[in-house]
Symmetry: C2
Subunit: 323 residues, 2 copies
């Protein structure tokens, strides 16, 4: 089995590579080779199969065709300009996120062997106003260019799959928490910061009210979604190939309680409240909770609780020891 | 006021031009000039303002830029490869319906003066299964490439409008009945044929069961939607710029009863039932009824009944006299 991972250097991409190496296969089959591609050089894992890496821009003419010449059996497309950048650089967002993806779909179509294609979409395809719990039949009305690009790609993916050009699944990832690494400038970054920093003995800033509710998943569960999407029987999915992934819906207050509970210490004392108007306004337009019925029926599973998400972080990123 | 109509030679385009000429203006303002564009030469109306015509392919590089050099105040974009052709010629459908529209949006954005842009979308953005009545928050899950292309364009239109590049509205037209002219090969053609032909004293073929229910509107009301969309206060519309238009939901049986009632004769005797497997299968995936609440609140009005739709046809296309 030949695997292509586009966006392999990103956080979710690295988790996916690690998961495949740990599983030593995919969907019950042996992996023969892996091409890891990104805009920066992906790290080469220690794997018992051929691993190649590639660096480039998917939206460059000819690049997508070049990428799929090895005729992969499974393609994971995770590469994207992130939401903030797609908003500030309109042209770049459309070029990479929409045109780049469309070019990939066309290149795969030209192969004429209908591989599995798993596309990382996002809950940013939804925009307020929405019900407290968003169901599987709720409209996509994004309030960002990033969400618009993802929603368009979902539609293309369903159509290309219906026509048999590939066998696609678009999985809408919840916000991934706890993101490893340093605090970044993403508006959603504080959801990770208020857990990761106190766990490491560092201060963190909370820019929103403790009543804010959001939809999240661990990096481990996100990688699990991708692996499951590559293995699933798509006959059971039908023509609607975009699936809202399950997640954990919690308030900031509940996250903070879980932080103290899991750490066994009053680590929340390291959280400093510093309300930020802009972040508050952005967050108010984000989904809070979902009824991810279809994905759940199809066997996608998220973390069982925010406590679980925190424990996963301590285990995977901190070697089991608090800072 | 300068007006650009793309797709002016089509049935809805011609109705729109006639309506603007009859109104002698748009949105309470005088019209200074009109550019009528299509893939075939549009007919030049007898109008009290400058009328230019243009012929070409919107998806050709540079064509969209050339079209908007006159800096139109209002753009109607009605041009599309129809649903059947978009299905049989995959590349052409995407090139014209998605790439062509995207090129137009980019050309308008480059003008930097945010004109009103009215885009003719379609109920083909919806695909089965759906509720008996489809509401304004139901997801777009098209089951055709045509519907996919329209749904993508709607998303782009909302995003470009949100960013202020133009002031767009996408209006989802019901099936237009009674289409003037000769019977055509469109799968939905029978909805018009079973009225138009008997009214003209000709035989018509009914390929589906009389229980089939569908959503329709007269050509006159469709032109009215376009004119209203050009005049409306978009502040009241908000960021969700795609609107399902109101229509009339009737069964084939009700259409046939109305035919006899309005004609005052048993014209339905001219309808021959000849079930067609393919048409039946296609029709079963089409929407039957909508709750077009948003559009209704925004002042869009459809015909009041199927009787009205038939009377409009007799008046506009038959000079008030049956054949």
């Amino acid at each position: 089995m030949k695997i292509l991972i586009i966006g392999a250097a990103g956080m979710v991409g690295r988790k996916l590579v690690a998961r495949l190496c740990a599983d030593r296969g995919l969907a019950g089959k042996a992996i023969d080779s892996m091409l890891l591609y990104d805009i920066v050089e992906p790290e080469k894992p220690d794997a018992p199969w051929v691993v190649e890496t590639g660096v480039g821009d998917l939206s460059d003419p000819g690049e997508a065709e070049r990428l799929v010449t090895g005729r992969p059996d499974v393609i994971f497309h995770l590469a994207a300009v992130v939401s903030g950048e797609a908003e500030t650089d309109f042209d770049k967002g459309y070029r990479i996120n929409l045109e780049g993806t469309h070019r990939l779909f066309e290149a795969v179509r030209a192969l004429n062997d209908s591989p599995r294609l798993v596309f990382a979409s996002s809950i940013a395809v939804f925009g307020a106003p929405f019900p407290e719990k968003i169901g599987d039949e709720f409209l996509n009305a994004p309030l960002s260019s990033y969400g618009t690009q993802k929603a368009c790609c979902e539609l293309l993916l369903s159509d290309y799959s219906r026509r048999g050009f590939f066998d696609g699944l678009a999985i809408r990832l919840p916000t991934v928490v706890v993101r490893p690494g340093r605090p970044n400038k993403a508006a959603s970054g504080f959801f990770s910061n208020i857990l990761r920093e106190p766990l490491a003995g560092q201060e963190a800033v909370l820019p929103v009210s403790r009543e804010v509710r959001h939809w999240m998943v661990s990096p481990r569960a996100a990688a699990g979604f991708l692996v499951h999407a590559a293995a699933i029987d798509t006959q059971a999915v039908g023509p609607r190939r975009a699936l809202t992934m399950p997640g954990v819906s919690v308030t900031v207050a509940e996250m903070i309680e879980a932080l103290d509970r899991v750490s066994g210490e009053k680590r929340s004392a390291l959280i400093r409240e510093e309300p930020d108007e802009l972040v508050n306004r952005l967050v108010s337009g984000w989904p809070r909770d979902f009824n991810a019925e279809r994905a759940t029926e199809l066997g996608f599973t998220a973390d069982s609780s925010i406590d679980d998400i925190i424990r996963t972080h301590i285990e995977e990123e901190m070697g089991g020891k608090l800072g």
